[in-house]
Symmetry: C2
Subunit: 433 residues, 2 copies
């Protein structure tokens, strides 16, 4: 067995790719010992070879397809990102019997089915630990460690940019726009931050997590999504007043519909979270994922969710697994979609609301507001009223109710004569009641 080499092609030489190449070189002896054969870098596909990239020039190529096609490449590591040309490259690698390791959440969230089918047909590995929560092992625990359990819920902080912004807003009291600008200056937000701040990145990860947790194919389009760009300094202050913080959460839940059937609810939004919740203390660019399973109970995984080296760690763990399978036979588990649960409509999702209103400061207002909640079957947990000089500020925290009932209540409140404005509606998670 040890007389063969495992040939690796790396597609992309950005933050992650550079670290993958560096570690593969520096720890070549470790890789050989752990795999049972030398792991040899055959080439690196880059957009242009005219810059000094800190790697031997003869390894660089702009022809990614030719690199993937080489006979001496066993495993393709894709760290370019985006959909094309990556999707075509990965499919061609799988179709020609090469295993693939990728960190590409956007691709996986939309094309897992196609890629997994190709991997299964070719009897090769498709690994993607790095696509969710960077260095934190989450994919392997869900696919393997919890394979004998029944997962009911996965809740994660899976986007470092938004967590950095929300943590900073909470700490400094600054508003969203200023904090986003600061995050950009510090390198925590990209020039175009849309994918992060509008929740697209988190939604892609939620789709992957929900697919793994519930043995059901879930795509990014199945994930309800709201970003953090409307969160205000007042929202954070208001959350603090009820001993909560605000986090952008990716929530994947097994829910039971009105018809008694199980469905998958997958959603991403900023939500109030009690300070006592384990995810509330996850600050800055860190990520964490809480998994609740029937037998295991509540597990939490915490660490760095992004960055070149942490993401490379996850990529290289997958590379060792794929390489070992090449040397010793066998392969990782296939995509598991047997449960085929339907996606729960957002309106059916059980949740709690934290509603902030400006109301006229006169008798009977609270009673009329309470009547509106009651009329929609929504039970109130906490009410807090404050005189603002010009009218009053009224905060209502509800018990759990279907999202649709809550949305209708808020619409009805907005129509009440003495409600000047519903200034903020945030969901409350992690309280279980």
């Amino acid at each position: 067995m040890a007389d063969r080499e495992i040939g690796v092609a790396v597609l992309g030489l950005g933050n992650v790719g550079s670290e993958v190449v560096r570690i593969l070189n520096e720890h070549a002896a470790d890789f050989e010992a752990r795999v049972g054969a030398p792991v040899v870098l055959r080439g690196i596909a880059v957009r242009s070879v005219d810059r000094d990239r800190g790697v031997p020039a003869e390894l660089l190529t702009t022809d990614a397809q030719a690199l993937v096609d080489r006979d001496d490449v066993d495993i393709v590591v894709e760290v370019i990102g985006g959909i094309e040309p990556v999707r075509t490259l990965i499919l061609s690698a799988l179709n020609s019997g090469k295993s693939v390791v990728t960190a590409n959440k956007a691709l996986l969230a939309d094309y897992t089915g196609e890629l997994a089918d190709a991997a299964k047909l070719a009897d090769v590995d498709l690994y993607f630990e790095a696509a969710v929560a960077g260095a934190i092992p989450v994919v392997r625990p869900l696919m393997q460690s919890l394979a004998g359990d029944r997962v009911n819920r996965v809740v994660g902080i899976v986007n470092g940019t938004t967590n950095f912004i929300l943590s900073a807003m909470e700490e400094t009291g600054a508003d969203y726009a200023d904090t986003l600008a600061e995050a950009g200056r510090l390198g925590y937000a990209e020039a175009d931050p849309t994918a992060d701040v509008e929740g697209y990145d988190a939604a892609a990860k939620a789709a992957i997590l929900a697919s793994l947790a519930f043995h059901t194919r879930v795509t990014a389009a199945d994930v309800y999504r709201e970003g953090i760009s409307k969160i205000t300094a007042e929202d954070l202050a208001s959350a603090k007043a009820v001993d909560c913080t605000v986090k952008l959460l990716a929530i994947c839940e097994r829910v039971v519909g009105a018809d008694g059937e199980e469905r998958v609810s997958a959603r991403v939004y900023p939500a109030l979270l009690p300070h006592s919740h384990p995810l509330a203390t996850v600050n800055g660019a860190f990520n964490a994922v809480v998994v609740e399973a029937e037998a295991a109970g509540r597990l939490m995984f915490y660490g760095q969710g992004a960055g070149g080296a942490p993401t490379a760690s996850a990529v290289l763990g997958d590379l060792v697994s794929a390489a070992r399978n090449r040397v010793h036979g066998g392969k990782g588990p296939d995509e598991s979609t047997y449960a085929k649960l339907p996606i729960a409509p957002m309106g059916e999702t059980p949740t709690r609301y934290h509603v902030n209103m400006e109301v006229a400061d006169r008798p009977g207002v609270l009673s009329a507001v309470a009547a509106e909640f009651s009329a929609h079957g929504v039970s109130i947990s906490v009410v807090r009223q404050e005189d603002t000089g010009n009218g009053a500020s009224l905060v209502v925290v509800t018990h759990i109710a279907p999202e649709a009932a809550l949305a209708e209540t808020v619409a009805a409140l907005d129509r009440l004569e003495f409600v000047n404005a519903v200034t903020s509606v945030l969901r409350l998670e992690g309280t279980g009641e």
Copy 2:
């Protein structure tokens, strides 16, 4: 492939075994879908069949060896515990080509080598996720997810009984004996609590963690061990005064000796831990393991470290992996011992001390005490002196120094005329300086 069944023998029907059997039965359809073949329970080995065990009587047998030997058994699940007859049963299972899943940390800590060799020779799986930290995936992340990284440190709270006792002592201010008795009444401590409170259980887990983290065979005898039975209410109060808690830690570190060579330090002792450390908030019977790796940075895994259902979750995750390999070919990674790092003597281990002394209340004492630390090359971080009416209480917190230098300093202090007694010596971990 799907026309075959995977036959399973379960050895033991205690807390864990009962849950394994219950879940296998209740979720049989899930197991079949996830494995790709029916997973069928062939029998359960028990000490006596004369009690109603809540399982079909025809599955029970007292002849564990005959059950293991059955031709229709592919995988043996061992949840009896202890060394014999379990070691013989597992070896015979492996030697006859059966895969083994075990939760037996004591056996693994001493006999991993023998068992791993047998598994490798027979080309079968030996899985043991449940042996460390119950439901929390730690073994698989170390063996697989971090296989492309370089682990420098593993620090864990891996024993629920001692963590329950220390958490309760901190909360109530009660002393050790009373708290242990209360833990016994609540079912958190066994009738003979020695294995837990003296750190033997944690040391076995430390040996397993160190072996996995450093690709080196480490046994329980290689682990330096102190238990919590000498911890006093005063120790916890004193820790609180420097914003620390006390935790029984299992620490596995890559250290560099005076000769520049890498060694493995594996040790278990109660230590002060700053309240800001992620492990400080792990209370009650919960477990958590922090892994620090070169590329991944700091990861934390948190959850229930014991109990029937959580341990069964880990056992069944392993069972699904072993069964998939039976159906689809391949096997999990072999034991990895290529690094063969020597064990660091405890005296060389870098650590910090928190020393509590009763001293005469007169001028020059502090200077003489400080001189003693200095004479042994130990740098002082914090000194806190309190008048106790009858002399003074002096607490010295050191910077990092070799354990031997610290131990010699304490011995020298004890000989000083005006030091009435060194009342407590605890190590301080998790501060990094």
